[in-house]
Symmetry: C2
Subunit: 258 residues, 2 copies
Amino acid sequence: MRLLPHPPSQTTDPSVESTDRSVSERNSILARAPETGSDVHRERRRAVLETAARLICAKGYEATSVQDIADACGLTKAGLYYYIRSKEDLLREIQSYGMDIFEERVLLPVQAIADPLERLKVCMERNIHLVTEEWSKEVTIILHEHETLTGAARQQINARKKRYVDFLETAFAEAAREGRIRPVEPTVAAFSFLGMILWIYKWYRPGGRISADRLAAEMQDLFFGGLETSPAKRSRRQGPSKSTRKPAAQRSRKGASG
Amino acid sequence: MRLLPHPPSQTTDPSVESTDRSVSERNSILARAPETGSDVHRERRRAVLETAARLICAKGYEATSVQDIADACGLTKAGLYYYIRSKEDLLREIQSYGMDIFEERVLLPVQAIADPLERLKVCMERNIHLVTEEWSKEVTIILHEHETLTGAARQQINARKKRYVDFLETAFAEAAREGRIRPVEPTVAAFSFLGMILWIYKWYRPGGRISADRLAAEMQDLFFGGLETSPAKRSRRQGPSKSTRKPAAQRSRKGASG
């Protein structure tokens, strides 16, 4: 039984944010004596939820006991309950944590970008980086595959997911209205964008042949290369766009992130 | 408890193949006395596997008993075992059935298309129709979300999935080599193509605002509108391409299927 199926990642690309917490780092966070300081507690709770997500993905929710999670975290059961409410509540806590991270790293930083096309491009890049970081993979899987939540908890998570879809639909409609992209059906565009990104956890291996930066550049180019209008049409925009029609495969490894 | 969460679909679009078997139709197939004729047996086995897939998606694999499946099919347990080997084998049988249907409807019919770009476009359209047909939704979910298979069964399914990825990568590389599309990283292109299509079961509702034909046209346009080179560059090709850069939203509802 492989509880922690992924070895600590070797991030060779220095441009990748160093949020890729390795297993040993995570365990050392947990090994320290608990403190009530909120930052430390928050950090430890993250480590517990990421470890629980790995166990649940490897063994299944039913087969994962609170003792298994405590063992993997190097905690007693009592110590574990300092960070999670109950096993019943665990999927909700992991999904809620996954949405917190997503909003913090992807949605909030891009909302202020005035140009809707640039907003979408940076959003895609940030979301790709989030789903390719090894520590977040199982959290993402639980967020999108475990439909076991019911009642208010389910409604809450679905409302937060819907906020992202609404954000994308609005940005696509705005970009089309401003002549930044060709006309598209905003719902189809939003879910196509999401599908490309969220399918990544099914096939992508961090540390493999394709770096996260390369992946983000290729996907931006695939998706927006077709949507973007020619520079001549963009009468109201000043300055050249960062993204030309030159394929990413021929471009230098430069992300479009601001 | 909703065993059959989706009502029988009302296909308003006559161009959609009438493979969307409704629940009542499926049950009437099962209600007839078993025969050993292979076509009838095959048809009934399909109905059993589709019903089992619905139950497993609604209740979870562990919570679904053979008796539940027999009840939903209007069969005795003994009658059910005429169609399935065992509960243990059920996920494998559903996944294998899902791959059979996929190969029969999507992969085999397009392999003979000489032009790699047209091959990819028709393939996308056929795959979108498959995943938007109501009867196949739960089979698709089990095919892509239940990783519970082990050993030889898992290897077999993964090898068949890999054959599709290989097919797509080869077609993208060929299309780029022939100047039919801009240069792309074939693996990223293949999984982006797949992600857009396979994410559909997460959000698309048959019978809703967007028809399957419209969805296919929009996605073809989103994906290939950016990849396709301008007609001027296509020196070795004869005749105009079916897909122009005109957005699908402004086009007539005409699929690219042959």
